[in-house]
């Protein structure tokens, strides 16, 4: 039982901290958001130089064999800095699916491209009707000779307008919400029949609606077993939730620190507002919410790759509930304590608040995951 980082992990943490300290001042972030795709390609290249983009992949594939803790370290700093680059979409989601489900040939070709920053991936999974049900896949894939033909409309594809390749879920068999019958396919964004409509999300990041009409892919494009890819989707979404939990903790910690600093400098009635007990207690409540969230993000990290699926899912869902609730509380209070200035686009807390709001909604909000924990019989055996 240990919560400390190894020396190597501390070095990683330090170098990511440094990267963002040097390059992610509030004004710089504004500029990155204006660039095509809504993030900085130049900084993405710096991520690659630091080895962040190849972090979770096997050494044999051209990565550095980092685990969930390394991902947590990067994501927490991304959350602190409110970084806009598509790390979750490319490395955690897309890269994760390749890592666990991609063929050797696919990994040999693509992992080096991810690690070098040349390949941006997006996971095209959610659909208009699916809400938070991961098994609700209406897009279809039918066998056609040696390959597949994919038809369907995917929604809220994170960084879908920057991706050069999609990993698309599509159903080969079964009813619309069956866990069986789902396949995953690697599809080139430039392939015939793919159309993409990108848009900004409320947190200043990007997503896309992507439609696939009669898109042909070869048999070798399948990731995992066609028709039996659902457990893989669940595994990767669990890892993405653990990563998002770490990002949320970074954002919450930054909001809390900024708010406490503001309380020490902002004066009203001739005194700093931090001298008011009502606000001191609010800041204490925020810290408690933060520490509880941090604890659960650590739990999610340590359980993200657990072999026991039930234990893993319960822990991940529990973490998502805590992250959602703590994020909402800390975000709302950060805005409240900042007062009018917190209501503007000119303060970072406003943007952090929007990011934690987004994170709660991604892959199931607190209520959704509370339902999963409850239906699963809770965390303590009766």
């Amino acid at each position: 039982m240990d919560f400390a980082l190894t020396d190597e992990q501390r070095l990683l943490q330090h170098s990511v901290e440094r990267l963002f300290a040097d390059h992610y001042a509030f004004e710089a972030r504004k500029r990155y958001g204006q660039e095509p795709g809504g993030f900085s390609r130049a900084l993405w290249a710096r991520y690659a130089e630091l080895g962040l983009l190849g972090l979770p992949f096997d050494e044999a594939d051209g990565g550095s064999a980092g685990g969930p803790v390394e991902t947590m370290i990067v994501m927490e700093q991304i959350g602190r800095a409110l970084a806009l680059e598509p790390y979750l979409a490319t490395v955690v989601l897309g890269g994760g699916l390749l890592r666990l489900g991609g063929s050797e040939a696919m990994r040999a070709e693509l992992v080096p491209q991810i690690a070098s920053g040349d390949l941006i991936l997006a996971f095209a999974h959610a659909e208009r009707q699916s809400r938070y049900d991961l098994a609700d896949v209406a897009a279809r894939a039918r066998r056609d000779g040696a390959g597949f033909v994919i038809d369907g409309a995917k929604s809220l594809v994170l960084h879908g307008d920057s991706a050069r390749k999609f990993i698309v879920s599509a159903r080969l068999a079964g009813g619309q919400s069956d866990r069986a019958g789902v396949g995953l396919f690697l599809v080139d964004a430039a392939a015939d029949g793919v159309s993409t409509r990108g848009y900004p999300t409320v947190d200043g990041q990007r997503a896309a609606e992507v439609t696939f009409s009669g898109v042909r892919v070869p048999a070798a494009a399948a990731i995992g077993e066609p028709g039996a890819a659902f457990p893989l989707i669940e595994r990767i979404v669990d890892q993405a939730i653990a990563a998002l939990a770490a990002e949320a903790v970074g954002a919450m910690a930054a909001m809390h620190e900024t708010t406490v600093d503001y309380m020490k400098t902002r004066k009203q009635f001739g005194v700093t507002i931090g001298s008011f007990q009502v606000l001191q207690h609010r800041a204490a409540d925020m810290l408690i919410a933060l520490e509880q969230a941090r604890s659960m993000a650590m739990l999610a990290t340590m359980m993200a790759a657990d072999e026991d699926v039930r234990e893993r899912r319960q822990a991940i869902s529990a973490a998502k509930v805590q992250i959602g609730r703590s994020g909402r509380f800390i975000g709302q209070q950060a805005i409240q304590i900042h007062g009018g200035i917190g209501m503007t686009m000119e303060t970072k807390v406003a943007h952090s608040f929007k990011r934690v709001t987004t994170i709660d909604t991604l892959f199931g909000d607190a209520d959704h995951h509370l339902g999963i924990v409850a239906e699963g019989g809770g965390l303590i055996a009766a």
Partner: protein, 402 residues
Amino acid sequence: MDLRFTPEEIAFRDEVRAFMKEKLPPAIRTKMIDGSRLGKEDLVTWQRILNAKGWAVPHWPKQWGGTGWGPVEIYLFRDELQQAPAPEPLPFGANMVGPVIIAFGNETQKKRYLPRIANLDDWWAQGFSEPGAGSDLASLRTTARRDGNHYIVNGQKTWTTLAQYADWIFCLVRTEPAAKKQEGISFLLIDMKTPGITVRPIQTIDGGYEVNEVFFDDVKVPAENLVGEENKGWNYAKFLLGNERSGIARVGISKSRIRRLKELAALERSAGKSLLTDPRFRAKIAAVEIELKALEMTQLRVVAAERNRSGSNKPDPASSILKIKGSEIQQTITELLLEVVGPYALPDQVPHDDSERWNEPPIGPDWAGPLAPQYFNYRKTSIYGGSNEIQKNIIAKAILGL
């Protein structure tokens, strides 16, 4: 980062678990599960079983009966004890005055008091709070005037838990009336049989008699019963209160109570179905389980940090977080246990003290009786040990620098 305990730690946990299973008297265990009040005999019996094993005061130095366990073993022991569920050793001796005597007392005091605390030969009470000194403890007014080889004590203590059973009481008393608030306070050990002491029980909100007023009227206390130096008592009290907070998350107890909650929710029926299958009730249970899991992880982080610091006994300001969250969770669980029996929370059918006996058959389900009293009683958890508002003051000051 790794959640797993070492094989040695797991073996240790299993040993503790097996001991609890074998040695905890079934009658005491049943009372713990039911949420019934424990009598003095229950606590003395259990404490002596622990002491015979050498586990009564594990956190003390070995010389005085401690086990030499590290923070992880202490944590595992406490967690297993709470989940058994077994009573925790009476805190006033083992966790409060014992460590103060060890840290600040003289050799004679250590030899005289410590073995009797470990075996619960002496039942100790805590004489801190006064009618005018609650959270603002330093405004206490009980005086001790030096008179030759004695102190003459006059004043009143209140909220004195289980003082009706006490052989001894440790008191904060004012020895230097002219000094500033925190100065001029001393830490005095007083034999409850001394003439001039009167104990008046206070009936609490749950109907029980857990706390008392203790009056001191020209009580003659030998000067040798002073702990440490005269007028330095406030330092000893701060040390004691820091210790008090560190064990206060009570995660093991909450786990055990959640098991009970689920067991009863499975038995109780609402609209023809088990309450445990009711989505709204189930979601409420899940919500508190998640809070508890987060608290358990937070506690483990504190334990691991303590282990890695090794040696420093300074209370971690994070213990205020454990106190606040731990008390809130315990209270939430008692709310749900109250709700689980619905209208059968209403009959007042639990004896209010040791002398009363309820010989009638139960009204409603067997398990309903103690649940409402326990709900009312547990409001104390956010008040005692430094109220949760005081804990937030500590967080604001010590952690946030506000």
